[in-house]
Amino acid sequence: MAQRMQQGARPGGSRFAQFKLVLLGESAVGKSSLVLRFVKDQFDDYRESTIGAAFLTQTIALDENTTVKFEIWDTAGQERYKSLAPMYYRNANCAVVVYDITQASSLDKAKAWVKELQRQANENIIIALAGNKLDLVNESPDKRAIQTSDAEQYAREAGLLFFETSAKTATNVKELFTAIAKKLPMDQAGPRGIRAGQRPGVDLRPGDSSTSPTPGCNC
């Protein structure tokens, strides 16, 4: 797969960059929910497990002149998909490793992912650690299984961005992705081909009605 990071300057002095992001973490920690909140600003209380991986895009404006487009791989957390993970993180510019602050074991899994990323992925990969389901803890504090300070300390040692998030209440979701975008190397690359408007989503409007079949005729 080609390096999917492209940056460039728009004519008006504005900058545009595109980055590949991958979400990793144990199953049922809320990876898809975080993405859904980020991309669609929606939340489902009941969400089925992701099958395989889903590919989404979202564009955010960092400031007046800077636009960042994320190409997101939302992977499934089940063990059986583990062998496919390198394919998703191999060329990633950034990764969000998610754990569930009410499940102690999920942080261990997250640490394992961080380790793997630091060993196998892009050298300059930006990794963010996200402790999800903050809303549950706000509701009943005794559900918390992982102290903020512990996770924070780990993140600092490992050189990760760190947020406690809630996909349900949208707490820190935008902040998480914005922080990643800010940390990504926007300035290194010179002006290159601008990918604005390149979004391959094809216009599906009915278009020319001349091609539509005459109703009623079946031949």
């Binding site: 797969m1 992701t50 099958i51 395989g52 889903a54 939302d74 216009d203």
Partner: protein, 647 residues
């Protein structure tokens, strides 16, 4: 054979005349009755085969114990008695008008059996023969004759399709409805209540409370389910249960495992048994035991096919060698871990079977009806943009196949497609943010030892100007989704196939292919009346054996509820089972019951199952069947994908 000849000419020429039709039906087994037209000719045809010996009347489930629920006093008691008494009011009415209740072969074998229903009249003799498991070889034939052309029948179509078959589920539903409704007079109310019960079949049980305080309520809910599927390892570990959590099913798993291993120990594997009104069918597949527990009156073969599909789903997650390795490494492995996240796929399959699915009944696919030239345009667009690593390319709209391209030497296995369609259109897993998906999947029919990779992207048929962002949650809306699937052996092929999708959509946009798909999706299936104006047929299934595809009309306007569809499908299951009993070389089977008249017609080319109002005559139904066949012939290249596009 004269019969075959008849049918063959029927296919090529005008279709069978109703006279032929009756003859054929008659020649299978003669019948008699106080009926006017065609019956008189029946007896004269050739030498009618001698009447079969008396058999217990067990039609819908030929493998069941010889003495079906009819003869069990226990099941005749209680609520069922009550419900029968209530319905008898209308039943008596009907008899004088049109036809009576079945009385098995009364005139042929006087006194050989008890009169099953008091209301039977001796002059309404009927021939009933059927098979049972012990013999396992005899044909199951059931022909009933209306005494008169009924007019203005009070019963709603298929209101009680299965009452004659004594399917325990329907009795149970009826009984429940009676308890709750009190009266049967208010038909709409009755239907509402039944609907409600049937809808609740798909509700999840609440979780067991740790203190066990809701255990009893849970048991009641658990037992009220009409259908269960259990999957366990041969070591007795639970793998999957459609209803109930671990705590609830553990006991059952233990019992089932004990029973299964008892017979396995005796080197005489258990295939199925009946307990009360419930049929158990067991399938052992290597390290797995799969159990179907049904009160819906399906045949063993049908239940086994359903278990087979569940097994295929498990293989499609794990692949066969992987699964076998896991078990040989550790026979006591808990397979739920590796299968984690696919419970919804299994449940979606299971619920599909409970709801009733023509596709799985017939093991065939349905195609979107499209003009031949339009389909060609779509096929050619796909071939044109085909990327290097593509194995199969499919466009699917609401579970109906629009177009396929495939390599010359590989065809697609219907069972594999069933799994894919289930994943895309029934389960909700592929919904995350509405993006594009990349899914490793083993297609066991293609190759059960390895994974393929499937690119999936959804387009909306009704909102044409953008890709679907969040998939609709209701089943009906999903009918209007268009999915583009590309399957490749290359696990790194996502971006390549994604490009192919973009190119394809652009092509279809330009050449009008997208527009024709979209309008076909919006148009939906034609109704019976569109197909044959003035027809008595209310619904039919036509399977083209050569193409492994089927066609059917819309459920509307006659079958609008889940329950009425399930009843229709149950009727199809019964017809299907009776013509597919081993060694039943049946060609035409005619069934008349209180609520419907139906027909199964089997030839080497096709299978047709057709249902009409009980008030319709056999002639009319036969004519309708011919009309349907004519329509199919005319539309063959539109309703079916013939050959498909190969590269």
């Amino acid at each position: 054979m004269a019969d075959t000849a008849n049918i063959d000419t029927a296919e090529t020429a005008e279709g069978i005349s109703t006279k032929d039709f009756d003859k054929r039906a008659g020649s299978e087994h003669s019948e008699s009755g106080t009926r006017e037209v065609p019956i008189a000719s029946l007896q004269s045809r050739e030498s009618s085969p001698p009447p079969l010996p008396a058999r217990p009347r067990q039609l819908s489930r030929p493998d069941r114990s010889p003495f079906g629920s009819y003869s069990r006093p226990s099941s005749a008691g209680g609520p069922r008695l009550a419900s029968r008494a209530t319905t008898a009011v209308s039943r008596a009415d009907i008899q004088t008008k049109s036809y009576g209740d079945e009385r098995p072969g009364g005139h042929l074998l006087p006194g050989s059996r008890g009169v099953s229903r008091q209301q039977s009249f001796s002059n309404l003799g009927r021939f009933v023969s059927n098979s049972k498991s012990d013999g396992g070889d005899s044909a199951s034939i059931r022909s009933y004759i209306p005494t008169l052309e009924a007019s203005g029948d009070v019963e709603s179509l298929l209101g009680e399709v299965l009452s004659d078959y004594a399917s325990p589920a329907w009795k149970k539903l009826d009984a429940c409805a009676l308890e709750q409704a009190g009266y049967f007079h208010d038909v709409t109310y009755e239907v509402d209540v039944l609907n409600d019960i049937f809808e609740r079949e798909f509700d999840e049980l609440e979780p067991s409370r740790p203190d066990g305080s809701n255990e009893e309520a849970l048991m009641a809910q658990f037992r009220s389910k009409l259908k269960h599927f259990l999957i366990l390892s041969s070591a007795g570990k639970p793998i999957y249960s459609r209803h109930g959590d671990d705590q609830l099913v553990t006991n059952y798993i233990g019992v089932v495992q004990t029973i299964i291993s008892f017979y396995q120990g005796a080197k005489d594997g258990l295939k199925g048994f009946t307990a009360g009104d419930v049929r158990f069918v067991i399938m052992s597949k290597g390290p797995l035991n799969l159990v179907a527990i049904s009160q819906l009156g399906e045949s063993d073969a049908q239940l086994r096919a359903q278990l087979e599909a569940l097994y295929m789903q498990i293989l499609s997650t794990l692949t066969l060698p992987n699964m076998e390795r896991m078990f040989s490494n550790r026979p006591s492995i808990d397979l739920r871990r590796p299968l984690q996240g696919t419970e919804t796929l299994l449940s979606a399959l299971a619920d599909g079977f409970t709801r009733g699915s023509p596709s799985s009944l017939l093991s065939a696919l349905e195609c979107l009806r499209l003009r031949k030239t339009h389909r060609q345009v779509i096929n050619n667009s796909m071939l044109k943009v085909r990327s290097q690593n593509l194995l199969y390319g499919l466009i699917v709209a609401g579970g109906k196949l629009v177009s396929v391209i495939r390599p010359k030497k590989h065809s697609l296995h219907p069972g594999d497609l069933e799994l894919i369609f289930n994943m895309l259109f029934e389960a909700e897993g592929i919904k995350a943010g509405g993006g594009e998906n990349w899914i490793p999947i083993c297609l066991p029919g293609f190759n059960n030892t390895g994974f393929l990779y499937m690119y999936v992207s959804f387009l909306s048929a009704t909102q044409p100007n953008h890709e679907v962002v969040e998939r609709p949650s209701s089943r009906d809306e999903r009918e209007e989704e268009i999915a583009i699937l590309f399957i490749s052996p290359n696990k790194e092929g996502f971006f390549e196939l994604r490009q192919m999708k973009d190119d394809l959509v652009e092509q279809l946009q330009e050449n009008g292919g997208m527009q024709s798909i979209r309008s076909a999706v919006v148009k939906g299936r034609p109704s019976c009346v569109d197909i044959a104006p003035g027809t008595v047929a209310r619904h039919f299934l036509y399977k083209s054996k050569g193409n492994v595809q089927f066609a059917m009309p819309s459920y509307e306007p006659n079958f609008n509820t889940t329950l009425s569809r399930r009843r229709l499908l149950s009727l199809y299951h019964i017809l299907h089972a009776s013509v597919h009993v081993k060694n039943a070389h049946l060609k035409v089977q005619h069934c008349i019951s209180r609520d419907s008249i139906s027909l199964a017609w089997i030839t080497p080319m096709f299978e047709l199952f057709c249902v009409a109002d009980p008030s319709a005559s056999r002639n009319a139904l036969a004519q309708a069947a011919n009309k349907i066949i004519q329509w199919i012939r005319r539309e063959e290249e539109r309703v079916f994908i013939i050959g498909g596009a190969v590269f």
